[in-house]
Amino acid sequence: MKIINGLLLISFGALLVYASLGLPNRGDVDAVMHREKSPAGSQGASSYYIRNADKDANTPNMVTVILADYRGYDTLGEETVILTAGLICFLILRRKKNKS
């Protein structure tokens, strides 16, 4: 079993290294994800955020604008995640009041 797990681990690493060879060089300004237009011609999201965040929301910090406005629904979901975690800790750990 240990050998199989080890092999799985190695193949996982090999897959990732193989995949990483396809990635553009780190910091390359011309990488697809940094372009103005995607290869299919649609708007590149990242550069749109950089150029329009301040115009759209009057807020210089682009990360904040993306977080709370462009992708605000993600943040709502993610706040729900942490509320869920709080509820689970309550559910699993809080004991009955009369006991303690």
Partner: protein, 504 residues
């Protein structure tokens, strides 16, 4: 409000969930009422959505008013509307049933429990409807975290099972996230439709294949497809009855839906079946899983555990349908998502009824007295079991029929043999229970001390001692199996044939 209806179901469930801790601060009984009401409304809204989609084609909804590559969108096409409706209907049945149980197994913690149930459903609906790959991850986390919590509250061994589920589930979600990272670097977009347009232009990149593999493996863990099913049996066995009945039909189906989305609606069908043939891999593992799950189910003595292993087998059917990657297999897979959700819901609800009445669900201790005590539950069980085996008028037959046709279409006779053999195995392990319930005479009065006194008292009442709220959901789910079976041609023609992905 009408134009907001695609987003309304997750939002409603979310609003109900977050208002429960505030509303129920004084009276804990409010929690269940809020949950049930939210579930009723979610069924209504998703039925309405289904109607709208059926009439006028796919709907999209842009959060914050931002057009897709910039913002997040919800996409309601026939597939997502259909699966959302199935999930919400099953959830409503389970919640009705939970009202009858009166939270016996969750005692005083009903406030966080029902809030988590709603968050679980909110996550499921969000996953199903979203058209954004990262948004899917966020809702996947809500969904799975709530699932861990709902399981961890169960019996003594439940935290261990939940912990194992958490470790594996987190690995799954992280794999998905990692694959998404590769995909984003390559395509520069998170929107499913956008990524689908960009991918053919960058497909030669090795990172795309790796991203696909990582995402499918990650969701495969959540779906519990054969070699990745390790968390499932313990988790379903030790969870409280309501949780088992909720997580078993919904949890794995949602993951299966995500795999369908990724394979056929984000990636290209040619890519996943020829260039990087991951669908073949899925089909083979699923076929092994069908046999493995059925054999393991035969060896189990505990009813919930048996049902859990049977889930592994049934997930295999869905996986097989996905892996066949042809229209008939696809129809079979989607139809089996519907069928299995209803069947497993009904079976787990009956298991819950048995547990409530007898205090156990050991198969070896079942006998004909249970049929007398729980006539309707047992009738529901029989119907659902027949459907699991796949006898003609019931729904289970038709999904297997389409899968078999798909296997023939693909020319792979081994898959056909697997489907037939597993039907026999299904018959063996379900008839084992049916035989006990209908044929084995109850033990004589000497062994009567086995039966708890509370159950012997009211043996004379007309419908046994079952409450209607415990009875109706299980019966309704299994009767609807019959109806689905009868109307299956309409479902396939009206809904599923519209969603067969392009190029399949």
């Amino acid at each position: 409000m009408i134009q907001n209806s695609p987003a309304l179901v997750p939002l409603l469930l979310l609003a109900a969930a977050i208002s429960i801790p505030v509303l129920a601060i004084k009276k804990t009984g409010v929690a269940y009422l809020v949950a049930a009401a939210a579930s009723v409304f979610s069924v209504m809204i998703s039925a309405y959505n289904m109607f709208r989609v059926w009439q006028s084609g796919p709907l999209t909804y842009h959060f914050g008013g931002w057009i897709p590559p910039i913002g997040i969108e919800y996409v309601l096409d026939p597939l997502s509307a259909f699966v959302a409706l199935v999930v919400n209907v099953v959830a409503l049945a389970v919640l009705c049933h939970a009202g009858g149980l009166k939270g016996r197994e969750v005692s005083e913690k009903s406030v966080p429990y029902y809030a988590l149930v709603l968050l679980f459903l909110c996550g499921a609906n969000g996953i199903i409807m979203t058209g954004d790959l990262f948004n899917l991850y966020v809702f996947l986390e809500i969904f799975s975290l709530a699932g861990y919590g709902l399981i961890g509250i169960g019996e003594k061994q439940a935290p261990v099972a939940a912990f194992r589920y958490l470790i594996m589930g987190t690995v799954g979600a992280s794999f998905y996230l990692l694959g998404l990272g590769f995909l984003y670097i390559i395509t520069g977009s998170l929107n499913m439709a956008d990524v689908r347009n960009i991918l053919p232009l960058v497909q030669a990149n090795p990172a795309v294949a790796a991203a696909l593999s990582l995402m499918v493996i990650g969701m495969g863990i959540k779906m519990a497809i054969f070699p990745l099913h390790g968390w499932l049996p313990d988790a379903y066995t030790y969870a409280p009855s309501t949780t088992s009945a909720l997580v078993a039909p919904i949890g794995t189906k949602v993951a299966a839906y995500v795999i369908i989305r990724i394979l056929f609606f984000v990636f290209d069908i040619k890519f996943v079946s020829h260039t990087w043939p991951i669908t073949d891999l899925i089909a083979w593992f699923a076929a092994i899983g069908i046999i493995y799950g059925s054999v393991m189910a035969m060896a189990q003595n505990e009813m919930k555990r048996m049902l859990a292993y049977s889930s592994v087998a049934q997930i295999g059917y869905i996986g097989l349908g996905i892996g066949l990657a042809n229209p008939l297999g696809f129809i079979g897979a989607v139809l089996h998502i519907l069928n299995h959700a209803f069947m497993k819901g009904a079976l787990f609800l009956v298991a819950a009824n048995i547990r409530k009445n007898a205090g156990h669900s050991d198969i070896s201790r079942l006998d004909a007295s249970y049929r007398k005590k729980l006539p309707w539950s047992m009738a529901a069980f029989t119907l659902a079991a027949l459907s699991m085996i796949g006898l003609p008028p019931t729904a289970g037959f038709f999904s297997k029929w389409y899968l078999a046709l798909g296997a023939i279409d693909k020319g792979n006779w081994i898959f056909l043999a697997v489907i037939l053999i597993s039907s026999l195995l299904n018959a063996v392990y379900f008839f084992r229970i049916l035989e006990k319930v209908y044929l084995v005479p109850p033990p004589s009065q000497k062994a009567g001390e086995n039966i708890p006194p509370e159950t012997t008292k009211r043996e004379t009442s007309l419908i046994g001692e079952e409450k209607y709220s415990l009875l109706i959901p299980a019966v309704a789910l299994s009767v609807s199996l019959l109806l689905i079976g009868l109307w299956n041609a309409n479902i396939v023609k009206g809904i599923i044939q519209r969603i067969i992905p392009l190029g399949m």
